[in-house]
C-alpha cells in the first residue's frame, strides 16, 4: 500500500491545562475525501488545528507527503501544500472578495481559467467580486473561505464543518462543489452533518474523547446503522 498523504501517529495536544488530543492516529490516503466525525468536543477541530500547526503537538508524529510536519510553523505547513478552511471561515471582512482570493494565491495573480472554474460552482463569488467580504451572507462567506483554499492547487485541503448554520439548499450546492473538488485534490473534512458526510466521504475516522475510535470506509459505516448509533451516539434521523 502506498504511503498515505497525511498521517498522524500517537499525537497529543495540550491547550493550556487541558489535554485535548490523547494519542490520535489516523491516515488520509491521497485522493478523495476522508471525513473526521465525532461529537462536539471530541477534538476534531483541535486535530485540524494541530495538523495546520496552529496548536503545537506535545507528542506524536505528523507526516505530510513524506515529510515530518509536527512542530513546523504554520506558514511552512501551508507552503508544503495544505490549505485550511476554519470553522469560523475567517474571511477578511475588511477586504473585498477579490482581495481575499488574491491573497490566497501566493504565487501571483489568480489564474483566470481557475477563477472561472470556481465561479462555475460558486457563482456568487463572481457577482460579489468587488464587494467587501464583511457584507456577504454566511453561506457566501463559506464559499469564499473554500474558494480561497482552492484558488491555487493544493495537495490537501482541511475543511472544518462547512455546513454549520447553512440552509439546506445551500448545503446541496456545497455537495456539488465538493464533488467537483474531490476530482483534483485530497480533502480532509470535519463534519457533524452525517448525511452530508456520507454523501461525499470515501473514508471515515470517528473521534471520541481525544482518540480515534473507528476508521474505515465510509460506505461501510453508512450502511451499518447500529455502528452509527454506537459510534456517534445518535441515530441518523435525529442527527440532521
Amino acid at each position: 500500500m502506498a504511503e498515505p498523504l497525511l498521517s498522524l501517529e500517537g499525537v497529543h495536544t495540550h491547550i493550556g491545562q487541558y489535554h485535548i488530543l490523547q494519542g490520535v492516529s489516523f491516515a488520509v490516503p491521497e485522493g478523495g475525501m476522508t471525513v473526521l466525525l465525532g461529537r462536539n468536543g471530541a477534538g476534531k477541530t483541535t486535530a485540524l488545528r494541530t495538523i495546520m500547526g496552529l496548536w503545537k503537538p506535545s507528542a506524536g508524529v505528523l507526516r505530510f507527503a513524506g515529510a515530518a510536519i509536527g512542530g513546523m510553523a504554520t506558514p511552512e505547513i501551508a507552503r508544503a501544500g495544505i490549505a485550511y478552511v476554519p470553522e469560523s471561515m475567517a474571511v477578511f471582512s475588511d477586504l473585498t472578495v477579490a482581495e481575499n482570493i488574491t491573497l490566497a494565491a501566493r504565487s501571483g495573480p489568480p489564474d483566470p481559467a481557475r477563477l472561472d472554474w470556481i465561479f462555475s460552482f460558486f457563482p456568487a463569488m463572481k457577482r460579489f467580486w468587488h464587494a467587501p467580504a464583511g457584507v456577504l451572507s454566511g453561506g457566501q462567506k463559506q464559499m469564499l473561505a473554500i474558494s480561497r483554499a482552492i484558488v491555487e492547487k493544493r495537495r490537501l485541503i482541511l475543511v472544518d464543518e462547512p455546513t454549520k448554520g447553512l440552509a439546506p439548499a445551500i448545503i446541496e450546492g456545497m455537495i456539488g462543489a465538493f464533488r467537483e473538488l474531490k476530482r483534483e485534490t485530497t480533502i480532509l473534512l470535519v463534519e457533524q452533518n452525517f448525511r452530508f458526510a456520507a454523501s461525499l466521504g470515501d473514508n471515515v475516522a470517528v473521534m471520541d474523547d481525544g482518540r480515534i475510535v473507528h476508521a474505515g470506509a465510509m460506505a461501510a459505516l453508512a450502511a451499518d446503522e447500529a455502528m452509527q448509533t454506537r459510534l456517534l451516539g445518535l441515530s441518523l434521523d435525529s442527527h440532521q
Partner: protein
Amino acid sequence: MTDQAATRTGAADAIPQARLDLIPLALPVALAGLAFLLIGTPTTWLTLTLAALAMGMMIFVIASGLTLVFGLMDVINFGHGAFIAVGAYLAMTVLGPLAPLVQADSLMLNLAALALAALVATFGAGALGLAFERVVIRPVYGQHLKQILITMGGLIIAEQLLHAIFGGDQKAMALPTAFRGAIVVGDLAFEKFRLLAVAIGLVVFLAMQLTLNRTRIGLLIRAGVENSEMVEALGYRIRRLFVGVFAAGSALAGLGGVLWALYRETFTAAIGSEVMVLVFIVIIIGGLGSVGGCFLGAILVAMMANYTAFLAPKVALASSILLMVAILMWRPQGLYPVAKR
C-alpha cells in the same frame, strides 16, 4: 443546483457595498465650526486651525506606526517615544555641520539639508526599531503586562542613553531660513513650517493608504490586523511582516521627531514622552489598529488642543482627555473599531 443556491443567497439585488461610516468625519468639521463661533475673529481662527492641522499631521506621522503594530500583533510599545527622541537628536547631529545650508537664503539648499536630516533620522530610527523589536519586544511577545513594563523600561534606558551621549542640556533646533515666518495673503498669515508639516503629513497618509489598499504587502497588513492566524494559514510569515511594520513605524516616529523638534525649536530626550501622551489619546480615539481613525483622531486632538489653548489655556491638555472620554462613551472601541476575529 448550485445556480439555484446562488439565486437564493444573492436574492435579486445589487452588489452589497460596505457601509460607509461618515459620522466621525463630521466631527472635525463640527469642532472647527464650534471653535469659529467661540473665537469670533476669522483670522485667529484660521491661524489656530492651520496650527491644529500641522500638529495633527505630526502626531499622525508618529502614531500611525504604533496603531498598526498594535493591530497586527497585539503589541503596544510604550517605548515608541524613544524613536521620536532619536529622530530629533539624529536630525540635530546632521543639521549641525550643515549650518551654512540651513542658514542659506535658498529654498533648495534649505530643503536639501532638511531632507538629508529627515532621511538620516527616519532610517536611523527604523534601524533602531529593528534592534528594539529583536531585543526588547520579542522575548515578551504575547505577554501584555510584561510588554508594558519592559517597553517602559526600554524608554527610560533610551532617554538616559541619549542624555549620556548628547548631554542632558536642552538642545536648540533652528528652522531653515526658507521655513521661518509666514506667507501673508491679505489679512491672513500662513506659517510656512506649518504648511510644510501639513504637506508631509498628507504625503505620509496618502502613501500609507496607497500601500495598504493597492499593494500585496498592504493587503497582508490589513488582513493580518483582522486575523493574523488566518494569514499564517494562507502561508505567509506574519512575523516578518510584523518586524517590517515595526521598523517602518519606528522610522515614521523618527521623522515625526524631526518635525516636532523643528516645531518646538528646543528639545531634550523627554521630547518623546511629552508627545506620547497625545499619541496614546489619538490611537485610542481612532480605534486601536485603524490608520484612518488615527488620522482623524490626530486632527481632532490637535484641534481641541489648539482651540482650547486660545480659549482656556489652563485646561488645554485636560480637554483632550474630555474629548477622549466623550468619544469612548459614544464608541467604546474608538471612532473606527477594527474588526477582530
